[in-house]
Amino acid sequence: MKRNARYLALLGVLVLVIAACGDGADDGTTTTAEAEGTTTTAEAEAEETATTAEAEATTTTEAPPSVEAITACQVTDTGGIDDKSFNQTAWKGVTDAIDAGLATADSDFLESQSATDYQPNIQAFLDKGCDLIITVGFLLGADTETMANANPDQHFQIIDFAYEPGVADSVQGAVFGTTDAAFLAGYLAAGVTETGIVATYGGIQIPCAVTCFMDGFVYGVRYYNEVNGTDVQTLGWNPEDETGVFTGDFEDLAKGRAVTQSFVDEGADVILPVAGPVGEGSAALALELGDVWVIGVDADWFETLPQYEAQILSSVLKGLDVAVFTAIREVAEGTFEGGTRLYAIAEDGVGLGAINDDVPQPLQDEVAALLESLKEGSIVPGDQALS
C-alpha cells in the first residue's frame, strides 16, 4: 500500500505539472517557438496587407534604433489565445512589436481558464518583471484596477475598458469606435440579403465591447433601408431596449451553431456573431448550408479562418493589434501615459476587412464611400430612423 501511495503521489505531481503547462507557455523556450511561429505568419500577412489597420501597423514598425526593447506580457480572458479574434489579434500586436525590435523575445502570454485566474496571472507577470502588462478584455477590469492600484509604478494597458477619472489612473484603457465599423457591415449585410432578414448575436452582454458591434450593425441596416427604401429586418439585438440574443460565454461553439440555426429557421441569411471563437460555430453552419453569409469580428476572418472563406462576407476589424503595438512602442520610447485612448475609424483604429469577391462591385463601392463619410463624420451611426 505504501508503494502504491508513492506511485499515486508521483501521478498527482505529473498531472499538476501538465495542467500547469496548459495555463500558457510559461517557460522561455516554448514562448520563443510560439513567437517565431507567429512572426512568420505576421510577415506573410504584412506582405498582403489587405486592410488599412494592418497597413498602419506595418508603417509604424520602423523603430528608432535608440529604443530598447521591452518585455510585454498579455493576460487573456477565458476565450484563449487561439480564439481567432479577440485575444489572438491582441497577441498579434505583441508579435508585431517583437518583429519590429520593440519587444523582447521574452514577451509572453498567460491564458485565463476562468475568472479566478485573472489576478494570479497578473501577479505572475508582476513577479516576472514585465515592463508592460496587457490585460485583454472588459472582464479583467476589476482585477486590473486592483493590481494597478497595488503597483502604481507598473505600466498596464487594458483593452475595452475605460476607467472613470481618478480610478486606476496609471492604466491605459484602449477603447474602439466599433459602432462605426459595424455600421459598414450592417449596410453591406442589408445589401446582400435575399430574405430581407439579417441577424446578430453576442457572447456576453458587455457594454460596448460586444454591444457596440451589435448597435452599429443595426444602425447600418437602418441606414441602408433609409437610403434604398427597403425593409430589411435585424434579429437578435434591439439597441433601444438593449435586449437580444447572447450565448452566455466565449467558449461554447456548439451553442453558436445552434443560435445561428435558430436565426436561419426564422429566415435570416446574414449573421454577425460578436462572440469571439463562438462565431466559428456560425461559420461552420454557414458553410454547411451554403446560402448563409457570416461576418467576422476583431480579426480578418479570411486570414484567421480561411477554411470558411466561401461564406465569409467580410469582417469588422477592431485594431487590437494596433492598440497593443502602440502601447508597447510608447513604453519603449518612454511616452506611455495612463487614461482612456480611443481608436476611432478616422485613424483606422477600426474598419471593415476584405469583402467577399461575390459581392457586386457597386455595393462594394457604396461601402467604400460610406467609410469616407464616416471618417468625415457626415454620417453618424444611431441617427437613423427606426425601421
Binding site: 498531472v15 495542467a19 510560439e34 429557421d265 461552420a284
Partner: protein, 418 residues
Amino acid sequence: MTAVAGTADFVRAPAEIRRARILGIVYLLLATVVFLFFAVGTEGDVTFRLGDQPGDLDFTVSAQVLATFTAVVFAFLGGIQLTKGFGAKTNVVLAIAIGLFAFSFLGWAAAGKSLSLIGMLGTTVALAAPIAFGALSGVMCERVGVINIGIEGMLLTGAFTGAVVGTVMSPLFGILGAAIAGGLMALALAVLAIKYRVDQIIAGVVINIFALGLTSFLSSQFLVENASGLNNPGVLGPIRIPLLAEIPVLGRILFDQNIFIYVMYLLVAGMTYGLFKTRWGLQSRAVGEHPKAADTLGINVFRRRYINVFLGGLIAGFGGAYFTLGSVGAFNENMTAGRGFIGLAAMIFGRWHPVGALGAALVFGFADSLQVKLGILDTGIPSEFLLSAPYLVTIIVVAGVVGKARPPAADGQPYIKE
C-alpha cells in the same frame, strides 16, 4: 412515488399529500399568471411553422385564445389535483402541462409574428445531444457505484482527439479515437477510484483539470500554428433515412440527423435493455447497490466496475467528438463549456435511468433553445434573465417533478474485499 396505482383508496404518505396539494396550488397560480400576463391585452395571431419551408405546415392560432385555453386547462388541472389527485399519472400530467405552458408563453412572445417550431425542436436535439452523452456516461459509471465527476474532462478530451485524428486520418477514425481517448481517461479514474480508493469526487476533478490543461496546452502549442493540418476535420453531415424522414415533424428530428444523434438514440435503447433486462445489467446494478452481496454471489466487483467505467468513458469520449465532428468542425479551448456538468445534473434529474437521462437532457436543450428564440422574438425580456432560464427550469423541474431521487446505494463508496 405512488406505489399502488389504479386503486382509489390507497394510503398516501403525508409528504405525498403535501406535495400533491402544493402542486394543485401551483396549477391554480399558473392559471392566473397565464391569464393575466399572456391572455389579457394580447393581440394578434401567432403562426407556428412545422414544415421546412414557410407555408408548408403552418398552424395559426390567436395568441389570446391559446393563452385563455391554457389558463382554463390549468385551473381544471388544479381543481382535480386538489380534490382527487392524478395518482400515478401526476408526472405525465405535469410534463404535458409544462409543455402547454411553454406553448402559450411562446404564443404571447410571438403574437403577430410567426415562429419556426420545427426549427426549435431541431435546435433542442442539437443542444441536448452532448448533455445526453454526458448523462449516459454518468449512468454507466454510477450504476456500478463509481461517481464520475470527470465527464466534462472526458468530453473535452474526446472533442480534441476527434478533431486531430479526424483531420489526420478520417472523421470516422476521429470518432473511434475520441471514444478511446475518453475511455483512457475513464480508466485513469477507475484506477484511482477502484484500486487506490481515492475520493472519487477529487479524482474526477483531477481528470477535469488535467483534460482542460492538456488540451489547452496542446491546442495553443500545435493546433494554432497548423490549423489546416491538425484541426480541420470537417463536419459529419446529416444522414437522411429515406421514407421515414418524410414523416412530418418527427421525421426531421428523428430520421434526418447525423450519426451522433442516431447513436444517442440507440445507446439509450441499448442501455435501458442492457441494464434492466440482461444478466450484465443485473450484475452491474447489484455491484452499485450492494457490492458485498454481489461479491458473495461470485460477481467480480472490481472487474465489473473497471469495465463499466471504461464503457462510460467511451460514451463520454464519443459524445465529445460531437462538438468537433458533429457540430463545429474545429477544436477550441474549453469548448465543452460545462456541458459535462449539466450532463451530471441531467443524470440525477433522470434518476440514473437512460431514458430519464435523455428526457432530462432534452428539457435542458429545450430551455436553451427557448431562450434563444425569445431573444430573437425581441420580447424586451433582459438577456441576462433569458440566459438564466435553463437553470431556472432545472430548479423548478427538479424540485417539482422529480421529487426524491435515490442514487445507487453504494455510489461513491470504494469496495474493500475482505
